[in-house]
């Protein structure tokens, strides 16, 4: 893998993720670092997103409240969504992916679409239809 160095905190973290079609797919909530065998500095191997990744980054009481709320709300998915660094075509100003976003990213969105928003009349009509 090609090795480039930059400041992760500045260039990667907290940036908007856009999938292959330019649709927003969350924020870069954290990154995964991997130590290669034989030592050397760690290499960024994946972007992490989703509420499960955001909690640990928020320290103090606010972070604890966030984490326990997340555990209660969705006990089945404790792992953050992982996007391999190879799938990222650009980091800045937004993290652009060459693939679709991981399925897990859209779970809440889809649930709300199917169970709440999609059931309200007119949910499938955009602004331009009336113009």
């Amino acid at each position: 893998m090609e090795e480039i160095s930059f400041r992760v905190g500045f260039v990667v973290l907290d940036r908007q993720i856009l999938d292959r079609d330019g649709r927003p797919a969350g924020k870069v909530d954290d990154v995964e670092l991997t130590w290669e065998e034989g030592g050397g500095p760690p290499v960024m191997s994946a972007l992490l997103t989703d509420s499960a990744a955001l909690g640990p980054r928020i320290s103090g009481r606010a972070g604890r409240i966030w984490r326990s709320a997340m555990r209660r709300l969705r006990p089945s998915v404790p792992e953050p969504a992982r996007i391999a660094v190879e799938d990222v075509t650009a980091f800045s100003p937004s993290a652009r992916l060459s693939t679709a976003a991981p399925e897990q990213v859209g779970l809440v969105e889809e649930w709300l679409r199917d169970h709440l928003i999609g059931r309200i009349p007119g949910a499938r009509r955009g602004d331009d239809a009336g113009e």
């Binding site: 927003p24 969350g26 980054r57 100003p93 999609g118 309200i120 007119g122 949910a123 499938r124």
Partner: protein, 409 residues
């Protein structure tokens, strides 16, 4: 011709869109209590909100990024979240205040108790967000809000002693019977009502969503430069009406009926009708903007799809959050708290949270990495820095003054 029409509509909408229940209450209350001695706060607030809106719109047009997207990126996850929660709370209270304002305007029009109108007001605003296209929504309520010009006509018809009015406006001190701390509290109220963060958030989010180009930016600038001062002129007219009629009579403002009183005295039934239409339009228009702004801020922080133009199924989380915001704000007003008090507290909280969005926008507006050669010019920066200090002082003073004066009593 079409362009001229679009321009006229745009800036008329900016006039009406400038005012919300906060401006109506703050300007009328302070006119009734302090004469014109707080008139200076209106132009100071108008210049501040023009500066802030222009900067954040320029940042959005050049970078294509929305305000809370940048707030998160510049401040990081934790400080960004604290910022988001504070701003969201202020926005939600502002939404509650404006829903209360719509209901009070409908009470004036119908004599039915305002609490009966609260659910109707909230449902109608949400429905307009759900179904009505963006531009038509902004323009309809902005244009209707121009009926508030009735207050400017009323000032002239009341035939005031202009010299005394000017004397009061240039005194920079409370009337002898009032305390300095209360005077300052109402100064923060008038300033905070003019410089509401949701206006900026709404404006720049529209720019991001509609993909404004530099041409649109020029048009937006003209709207801001002409529309906002005209809005300030309306705010001053409301204050002057109260100063001329209510101040000498010792009437204090407890509801929108007292705000409307000078228009009714000066112009009779027509004056009252126009004032009530103006109240309805400005609070209704504001509740649309605030409701959307609340949803925008959360969706932008978490990086969800958001927007008003696309079908709601394509932004389910955003529309859920927006809907929940309306439910929470309605519930708050239905607890029978005084909507005028909610308005005052919401304006004070807006003032206290103003630097939280102003500072990141100012930093980005000076960053060549984001804006290239569209960064702030020297003159803008001098003015923007003065306002930064001023807004910080305002934010620090807002809540202590609220407690110290017990809400201006």
């Amino acid at each position: 011709m079409k362009r001229l029409l679009a321009f006229t509509l745009g800036f008329l909408a900016a006039i009406g869109g400038f005012l919300d229940v906060g401006d109506l209450v703050a300007n009328s209350v302070s006119g009734a209590r302090f004469g014109m001695s707080l008139a200076w706060a209106v132009p100071v607030g108008v210049v501040g909100v023009m500066l802030f809106t222009e900067m954040s719109t320029r940042v959005t047009v050049v970078t294509g990024r929305s305000t809370f997207d940048l707030v998160r990126e510049r401040l990081g996850a934790r400080a960004g979240l604290v910022n988001l929660l504070a701003c969201y709370l202020a926005t939600l209270l502002t939404l509650a205040a404006n829903i209360g304002g719509i209901a009070l305007a409908l009470e004036l029009a119908s004599s039915l108790h305002y609490l009966l109108w609260v659910p109707v007001a909230a449902f109608l605003s949400w429905l307009v967000i759900w179904r009505m296209p963006f531009q038509r929504m902004e323009r309809t309520y902005g244009l209707l809000g121009v009926t508030l010009l009735v207050f400017s006509v009323a000032v002239w018809r009341l035939g005031p002693d202009w010299e005394a009015l000017l004397d009061s406006a240039t005194s920079f001190a409370p009337p002898p019977t009032e305390q300095w701390s209360t005077w300052w509290f109402y100064a923060v109220l008038v300033l905070g009502a003019a410089m509401t963060p949701y206006t900026v958030l709404f404006f720049s989010s529209s720019a991001a969503e509609e993909g404004w180009t530099t041409d649109d930016l020029r048009e937006a600038r003209t709207n801001i430069l002409i529309g906002f001062p005209f809005g300030g002129f309306l705010a001053l007219s409301i204050m002057a009406c109260a100063a001329i009629l209510l101040h000498p009579a010792g009437v204090s403002v407890h509801g929108l009926d007292q705000v409307a009183l000078p228009a009714a005295v000066a112009l009779g039934k027509v004056g009252l009708i126009l004032a009530v239409v103006g109240f309805f339009a400005s609070t209704f228009g504001a509740s649309l903007e605030v409701g959307l702004a609340a949803g925008y801020s959360i969706a932008q922080y978490f990086g969800w799809p958001w927007g008003k133009a696309a079908p709601p199924v394509r932004a389910a989380r955003f529309h859920t959050v927006t809907l929940l915001g309306f439910v929470a704000a309605t519930a708050l007003i239905l607890t029978t708290v005084d909507p005028i008090k909610v308005t005052e507290v919401s304006v004070i909280l807006s003032a206290a949270t103003l630097p939280l969005t102003y500072l990141p926008v100012l930093v980005v507006a000076n960053d060549r990495g984001y804006l290239g050669d569209r960064v702030n010019g020297r003159a803008t920066n001098v003015l923007a820095s003065v306002y930064l200090v001023f807004m910080l002082a305002l934010a620090l003073a807002a809540i202590p003054l609220l407690i110290l004066t017990k809400g201006g009593q």
